[in-house]
Symmetry: D3
Subunit: 190 residues, 6 copies
């Protein structure tokens, strides 16, 4: 069977208490342990920081809906050709947006996806942060303000794109394999 | 409802006899008319040549399996960010490969997909034809020979990549929309 | 003598009737058989579709002049470093535009060529379809409308760029060699 | 005076206890507060995770020397045009390597820097992770093994490049300004 | 009539003595004044240095034939989309190589041109200097040594590519227009 | 000790009279001989033209201040990853601008440097000439006119970018090493 990482993968029961508890809680809620937890737990200190960072950006309330945050993940992860993140967060996007088609559309070409102009502007900015953050400037902020995003929302967009710049590279470095469960999740129309 | 093309879309009953017959035969077999037929039928002479070319490459027997030909379509269409081709041919790939996971894997990053080394070499070449055919040379042919592809197989790989270079551009030019049916097709494990 | 293709080249007399007739008619008219006919005739079914598609785009009447269509071919083929298409269609462009300088100008840098602003806008769009069709959108259509191109003309521009995306890749795949006749054709001032 | 971030910057005394303590300890040790602490503390939960992640990668013992880790930071941050990281970590690199010239050399073109072949291989891999992690594969691991890096060292190289992919994007998003102190630090020959 | 430069063009009779003499000598020999002399003479001090540099590289004897040096000019100028240099040096290449086809072949895709493997290696290196000189290293020198180029020949190849990096940019900056005479020169087979 | 060039480096006393005098004058003024003089003097005729060209652009009076001209050198040389030019001209920029921070800022990301909007527009144009001069056109000239640059100033900006396109390639070709003196020069605040 194809391994979930090219690096050693710990047994969840051998992990430090806090990581074990965290991971078992996810398993309880989701019905399975997403492979990213096990693959990154090879380095417990890095893993703790990774999941803390993830949750600080993705689980809080705020100006972006949870579905919109997942759109950013899917669009930038596709640009970075990250199999794990596109497949896993594609599933979450389908569920949070209650839309079985949206993840594939955003992954392939967000310009042709069933999104509002405001959401397309959000993704254009996220991709700019992902691909050439060095060129981000006042004109980009003004374009987003014109769509109703304030500076805190812009931080959210940029920070999610930046965090998944890290995440995509770790997944490609480790050849992280998405769980089979993700592929079909959320594909039933509601 | 979102149109299937930004150009006028003919009614199938108004089409020239040969195109109408061809399209109704597809509908009979598939249960629906893939939008590419209607979107391109706006220009009957071009449409005839397009479908003739497609069938000459994709429907014949030959050294590549039908699933392998669809892998080439999905990999190069993803590189070209072509929503229609990734979604529609992703469905066909899942069915022909009898593998519900393979299309998403190939679309995001074929290097991490569940493929043989021979198939990865095939896709590396297809992507070179798609992205920088000007640099194709003897070394590429030798690399494929080493994997057991003969020159006729190499023509097939290159010609499929070349045909979808055309197809992807037409789909992006026309904002061609994939039928909703394609998204879930072939996702049930066998 | 350098072969005209790295793949086997059929004798015209061995070809299926329809292809033989078609090619002999071209020979009668031009005085020689352009190598593209022989190189692609290695695969008759693909060749038929190729030439049907070509003629549907390049031989019909329409909003673009025949010279303008050849400009699109030369500009996009140069961007794709396709020797056959730049040399052969450069000759046709010189003849159709009755201008011995225009083909070299368009091949090297259309922005500096002796063209109208409308023609430069046409070529800018053709190159966008050729290089990043995924980013084509409403703003591009509006820019062309402002130069007097309607949607049917835009289809023509985009479809020619798309067809030669295919053609350029086939020529580079097969190392297709332009006939010596093309180089000097149309270079005499009128 | 130019602000250190385009977002609001908190007063260190208003920060949550743990961040305040952490930052004051850095100030005590360095003589000043590096601006990254204040700029990112605008979002305390994200800041905690950021600094935890940083320290997990950069402060531990391991197969890479601390100077080598800073080389990775400087090389990848220069590729991402991140002013804060090149200036601040350039200073740290000079100090840790006890070499006043090395940071500028690595920032401009590591291939021409006073490094060992092993260190150049390390930076070539770090830049591949930074720029096209999707293409990382077995051949890259083998090349590093040949230079004596084991898989844990490769994780370190890749993870540092990945973390600064995040860090560089946050610095460019926020227009983070390096402290004036960093520019001249470590430039005295020893 | 289209101007030969977007900047003011001096009358040759108003130029400083040395430039006037130099230019009239070229006119005597060629039958016309190539526009580069007049366009650059707008700045006499820069023009003197430009032509001195050009002659030092292109007119001396040495390990590369004069035709080979012109191949480098044509290949790198085409990559830089420099109309003046491709058209003018294309003419010189045809004459020096006594080959009416070679310039168009090299301009479009040197890999498919009628060249020796040694000449293709020379052009691959010239294009690397032109496009990413920062990555030039020992392996490139070794590859050229294997084709019989010594270090002095390598300097010549690299220096010609470097000089035309300058020249191409000046021609594009000034919209320098090639003389009509160049287009047809050397196209008669010998 | 690391050589200053991968090619033979002449002894200054063996050089032709004019080059020897020129170099000794620089040594007298600067206190040391910048390595570029010795590395390029391997080819006296090319070296003479190089330094004449350099002085014609960099030493004259004109609409750009000497500090602004050095900004162009540093920004474009950093884009070309030229160690010699960034380090040596970075020193000159610090001195001419009387600003110990400006060179590092411009080298890493001029958009975030302590510059006026006019200077940022100047560098944006210089980088366009450096990276894609083929696309320079009327709109670029108009943008610079709006910042108060006239056509002569635009020639200066473009010509400096063009000259260092040459210079950067020669430095990378020869592995030219900056003198140790440059690194710390001008770093003391005034």
């Amino acid at each position: 069977m194809t391994p979930i990482s090219r690096f050693p993968v710990p047994d969840v029961l051998d992990l430090p208490e806090d990581l074990r508890t965290r991971i078992l809680a996810v398993q309880e809620k989701s019905g399975f342990i997403p492979n990213v937890f096990l693959a990154l737990a090879h380095r417990p200190a890095e893993a703790r920081a990774f999941f803390d960072y993830h949750d600080a950006l993705m689980e809080k309330d705020g100006p972006l809906t949870k579905a919109e945050r997942e759109m950013i993940v899917v669009a930038t992860s596709a640009a970075n050709e990250c199999q794990y993140c596109v497949v896993a967060h594609g599933a979450i996007l389908r569920i949070r947006a209650k839309n079985p088609l949206i993840a594939d559309q955003v992954a392939v070409n967000y310009r042709k996806a069933d999104l509002t102009d405001r959401q397309k502007a959000m993704l254009a900015f996220a991709l700019k942060v992902s691909r050439e953050a060095q060129a981000v400037g006042d004109a980009d902020f003004e374009a987003l303000h014109a769509h109703g995003f304030d500076d805190e929302a812009i931080w959210d967009i940029g920070a999610i794109a930046a965090f998944f710049a890290l995440s995509n590279r770790m997944a490609n470095l480790t050849s992280m394999r998405p769980n089979g469960e993700f592929y079909a999740m959320g594909r039933q129309p509601r």
